[in-house]
């Protein structure tokens, strides 16, 4: 009797399914609405879908280029390759291409349209900061993204938002043309407003989907290495470092905060709705649960 310690998180699966369902419904409703409301949107749909298809198809080379990463051979980075080799043998998956980006920012990402065309990239910053076990935890998390086909899922999920965003931004000009013909003025305004709402809702849903997929990758990665605590310590190290390096300009941040009702608005919970990654504490809690499950007698 083969038993496995791997347990899915049914709550997580349910939430993810709910969000996917919501996105799908939004997709269909918005598509139907567009076809009903105006024929000229077809061009927009074609352009945006072609753009997101291109982004998906070339995702690995695009992402690597934007990070200034280059692929490394087993001779150039023997340790990194050996680590990924072993993890792939454990998970029985095809080895992705391995790339290194020379930057001090500690980060790692996986990209590519399918498990056969994927790359895993780490920065030199993360390799300096983490020890071997922690780096392995991070790599297992990235390999889980590859196995879960997260690039494909997120591209499909976000292309609707892209389309709605495209219409809100460029729709004015398209609509303006129709207005001169003396028809479609109010109809266009409706399309514009609905697009804005769709853009906002799909943005929220896409972000929450992304957070669930991160949690799911944490979980699979932790089960793959059998050492959730190592991934936790890697997360703490990276997040600590990342949080310390601000991206926003100092002056800009201060000026805007001055207009906020800081005490009235719980900025942390609003921030959590918009972020692509779950809060650190939530990830650590989940990993602690996996760790407890692993040490229970079966």
């Amino acid at each position: 009797m083969a038993r496995t310690r791997f347990r899915g998180d049914s709550g997580l699966t349910l939430r993810m399914g709910g969000v996917s369902l919501g996105l799908g419904a939004l997709y269909v409703a918005f598509g139907a609405f567009l076809i009903y409301a105006s024929g000229s949107a077809v061009m927009g749909i074609v352009i945006v879908l072609a753009m997101s298809w291109g982004q998906w198809y070339f995702s690995d080379s695009l992402a690597l280029k934007s990070m200034g990463a280059r692929e490394v051979s087993p001779e150039q980075a023997p340790e990194l390759h050996a680590m990924i080799d072993r993890l792939c043998a454990l998970a029985d998956m095809k080895k992705p291409r391995v790339a290194v980006s020379v930057t001090d920012m500690p980060n790692a990402f996986a990209t590519g349209r399918s498990p056969n065309h994927s790359s895993v990239c780490v920065t030199t910053g993360i390799m300096q900061r983490l020890d071997a076990d922690e780096l392995e935890g991070v790599l297992a998390h990235e390999l889980a993204h590859v196995a879960n086909r997260d690039v494909t899922v997120m591209t499909v999920a976000s292309s609707l938002g892209l389309l709605a965003g495209f219409i809100t931004r460029w729709g004015m000009y398209l609509g303006g043309g129709r207005d001169r013909n003396g028809n479609g003025g109010p109809a266009f305004l409706v399309v514009f407003l609905v697009s804005m709402v769709v853009y906002f809702v799909s943005f929220l849903l896409t972000r929450s989907l992304s957070r669930y997929r991160e949690l799911s990758a944490d979980r699979s990665g932790a089960y793959l290495t059998g050492r959730p605590s190592k991934l936790s310590s890697a997360l703490v190290k990276i997040s600590g470092d990342m949080a310390r390096i601000p991206n926003r300009d100092l002056r800009e941040g201060q000026a805007i905060s001055a207009f906020f009702f800081a005490p009235a608005l719980n900025r942390e919970s609003v921030g959590a709705l918009f972020s692509t990654h779950p809060p650190l504490q939530q990830r650590l809690d989940q990993l602690a649960r996996v760790s407890a499950e692993l040490s229970e007698p079966l």
């Binding site: 083969a2 072993r86 043998a89 998970a91 071997a132 799911s216 050492r227 605590s229 692993l294 007698p297």
Partner: protein
């Protein structure tokens, strides 16, 4: 990995195939006719998980094997994988395989079959080099590994071994999965 697994973001871990290991004695006979001699050494390589449950299983497996007079050792390599090595008298390949299977099945019964990476059975090649027949649990396939020194391997001899044992065991077709295991016990 089905469509729904992609949508729901869950990946089911692959199952480890343990029984194929029992084909090794047959392959050992074929190898012996070509001048390879079994050294009686073998090992199971796995990812040692954190927590008390894992340590308990390891100890139980060690006690189980030590009862029939095999030498048992556990060593950690630089990649964080643990080698559970078993040494039997040189001729006793089937006894060795039974011991290795005992380690595997203990881990599997405790729910840790995902942690299994590979298993090795070590032979001495006619020229005196060490050759390991490596079994990949998740693929259910074997491949030979012959180290020349710390970073080079004798690919010619490995391909030669593939021809010898091809009829007895399933040899890994994808050469890119013939992972090097530098510094494995007994090599």
């Amino acid at each position: 990995m089905g469509f729904w697994d992609s949508i729901l973001g869950r990946s089911t871990p692959p199952k480890a195939d343990l029984d194929a290991l029992f084909a090794v004695p047959q392959a050992a006979l074929s190898l012996q006719t070509e001048g390879f001699a079994p050294t009686g050494q073998g090992a199971v390589c796995y990812r040692s998980g954190e927590g008390g449950a894992f340590a308990t299983v390891e100890q139980q497996a060690e006690q189980l094997i030590a009862t029939d007079g095999s030498q048992v050792a556990r060593t950690d390599d630089t990649y964080g994988f643990r080698w559970f090595s078993v040494t039997k008298p040189p001729g006793d390949v089937s006894g060795l395989v039974t011991d290795l299977h005992a380690v595997n099945s203990s881990l599997r019964d405790a729910g840790f079959d995902q942690a299994l990476l590979c298993s090795t059975v070590v032979f001495t090649a006619p020229e005196g080099r060490r050759m390991a027949l490596v079994y990949l649990y998740k693929r259910g396939t074997f491949y030979p590994f012959v180290p020349l020194d710390a970073t080079h391997r004798d690919n010619a001899l490995e391909l030669q071994v593939r021809g010898i044992v091809d009829a007895d065991i399933t040899v890994e077709q994808d050469l890119s999965r013939w992972l090097a295991i530098w510094g494995a016990p007994g090599l």
